[in-house]
Amino acid sequence: MHSSKRTRPLTRRPLSRRNFLALSSATVGAGAFAVACGGNGGGAVGDGEIAGNVRFAWWGNAHRQELYAPFAQGFEDVEPDVSIQLEPAEYSPYLDRISVQAGGRNLPDTFWIPANQATSFADADVLLDLNELPDDIINFNEMPSDLVSSWEINGRQVAPVYTQYSPAVQIDRTAFEEAGITDLPDDESWSWEDFWDLAQEYSDATEEGNWGISSMGAFYQHAHLWIRQQGGEIFGGGGNLVLDPDILAGWFAMWQSAIDRGAVMPPQVSGSETQWTQTGHRTGLYLVQLNQYLDNVSFSSDHDLDLFKYPEDSDSTDDYQFHYHIRMCVARSADNPEAAAAFLNYFLNDESAAEMVGLATGFPVNPSVIERIEQDADEAEQRMLDMQARVDEQPMRDRPEPPPAGAGWQQLIENANDNIFNGGQDIDDAVAAGIQDLEQQLERG
């Protein structure tokens, strides 16, 4: 009936109610949750000495981290009294980390900050106004003064732009040629209809499992560009939400139509993996942020990835293009603010950046650095430079940064896209719910 082992129980004492309750209470108590909170910190500008330890945080994939680590540590050769401590991270955990560090008043001394978040941090007064520093630490002389002043937030130079870039279209010429499609449209005059026709043609010309493009309705920077083509904008100059729900619904309707006609890899296939490095060998087109182009080229090293300008419809506004920014800042809590700011200045102005990091995160704002990059640019970098130059020829109307708590507009686009294409929600309902949610966030601050 039972094994002989049963005759040798570990203990013969059955569990009593009292023992059980004691055991349960102890275990349940140990499972309680915790939320940490931070105190106040902050500091003032120091004694003018450029020395000490500087913590530097930035985001990027492993390749970008490999590029930036030696460049950042090169500052120790420029300022031997400064020691650089590196704190890299991937983009998503990076944002989580700096927000927690900000709450704990433990921000890195110098760090990159997405333009969307800059106003939130500036509003909380955790960033150092670089104008408070002695004049010779930060050198903006090589940048146009009106450009430099346009970087100010609430009249303070707390997060100058380090690099900038624009969106474009990436075409895998090799894949198109293999599919027998060699007659590509002229990107100076092509329309969205031409774009979708091309995607459709690629889907039809390739074997099952290949599509013209992956489902990219959630790519908020491209949604933003399209909204601007329609004459819309996300936020007004005063930080108020001005997004027209009909325009945003039009963006999703365009993707829905393209999915229905078979031009787009269905979301059920791609899921959330829609980056070029995830779907690149099954699609021919891609909406690219120029700062990611080199990564894509590296991923598809045996393919010829070309860059096209954005398609425009006849009724598109002519000043829709914009620069997206990666900003850099010094924490007000920095132990050695002058050293941290000098390090920021090194990023802005040191020409060794041309060779060491090049265009890995977009286009440095310093013209001298760009000139150095142009001198030694390889084919892919030259394509990037040419495309950005063509974009820059177009007029660009202002693109107001989101107000504090306004960075949630990205989640609005992503969640609405998810709810529509994965959840089957009606486009208008998803957009309305998303906008209502964002309005609540803005209201609550």
């Binding site: 499972g31 939320v35 296939v269 899921g271």
Partner: protein, 333 residues
């Protein structure tokens, strides 16, 4: 159920003996009551008590009670992590119940996850524990092998592995395609199946309750089974009349623990959904939503309110479990 046990082992009919009390106890108590000075022995015991309780008390105050009180305070504030918290009364709770559909959505998702995965997990754990209790050779190896998922199941690595296995090109689809199935989805990216993949992952971590069941099975006195066998009870009857009633305290214990664990599940959903709770909020666990509010949207005050609500919810469910346990848990005392 307990009655069945009584039929196997009838209760004693002898009158209960009065509790043993050493002679002169009352006199000694009366004598010590009037004493003002404590004996050196008492002081030593007090010191030992402080030494042994100190680390735990310190840890509890600093790591549990302190943050808990902090979270309760923050739940009544607006706190965006960057600026100092401002007191807003019960606004966070009002917002939670009146204008936050995602709060309800996360409750539903978490509820489904708990209600489906915990019983399944316990069922499999009990079945395997009984299998291992049959005197199988190499028991310690099997025990270690089955316990392994409990150790690593909640890790980021397993989350990534799960995403790969249940992805469009993952192992599950490769097998199904080889069997002739077509039009297969990416299981983790389909809102109809994504939660199921997380439930499977939780069920897979059955090792911990299994070990507890195994220990419990080995504590059931064998004479119960022998008596039942003599009385003609078959295996099924023995299971339902002896094994199950005798294990109810451990079933109850595992139920409480695994329910609390399931309510607190975070890592797999975060990894598999890329931190979004998607697709279409189908993996929006309560803890993940709390995290998104706190660290993605910087609403730490609201996230604290969600945390407090979760604590109350788990507390209420645990209390209800204890309340109803008197109807089905058999204690041998």
């Amino acid at each position: 159920m307990p009655q069945s046990v009584n039929t196997v082992e009838p209760p004693s009919t002898a009158p209960p003996e009065p509790p043993h009390r050493p002679e002169g106890t009352a006199d000694r108590k009366a004598a010590t009551r009037g004493r003002k000075k404590k004996s050196p022995m008492n002081r030593v015991r007090k010191r030992d008590l402080l030494i042994f309780m100190g680390p735990w008390t310190l840890g509890f105050v600093l790591l549990t009670a302190g943050p808990l009180l902090g979270a309760i305070y923050l739940s009544f504030t607006h706190f965006n992590l960057l600026a100092a918290p401002t007191f807003i009364g019960v606004d966070n709770f009002v917002h939670m119940f009146t204008s936050d559909p995602r709060f309800y959505r996360s409750l539903v998702v978490t509820g489904l996850y708990v209600v489906i995965s915990v019983p399944l997990q316990l069922l499999i754990a009990l079945a395997l524990a009984m299998l291992l209790d049959t005197g199988v050779r190499g028991l310690s190896y099997y025990r270690a092998l089955y316990y392994l998922p409990s150790l690593i199941g909640g890790s980021v690595a397993i989350g990534i592995l799960w995403r790969t296995i249940f992805g469009y090109e993952g192992g599950i689809n490769q097998i199904l395609r080889a069997l002739g199935f077509t039009d297969l989805p990416s299981w983790v990216d389909n809102p109809n199946t994504s939660l199921m993949t997380l439930i499977v992952l939780n069920v897979w971590t059955f090792g911990s309750p299994m070990i507890i069941f195994l220990a419990g099975l080995r504590q059931i006195p064998t004479d119960l089974y022998e008596s039942a066998s003599i009385d003609g009870a078959g295996k099924t009857r023995q299971f339902f009349s002896i094994t199950l009633p005798m294990l109810t305290p451990l079933i109850f214990f595992n139920l409480i623990l695994q329910t609390i664990n399931a309510f607190q599940a975070f890592t797999p959903a975060h990894v598999i959904s890329g931190g979004t709770g998607g697709p279409a909020d189908s993996t929006m666990f309560y803890t993940l939503y709390l995290y998104i509010e706190g660290f993605t949207r910087f609403n730490m005050g609201y996230a604290s309110a969600l945390g407090v609500m979760l604590l109350m919810l788990i507390g209420l469910l645990t209390a209800l479990n204890f309340l109803f346990s008197r109807y089905w848990v058999f204690y041998n005392d």
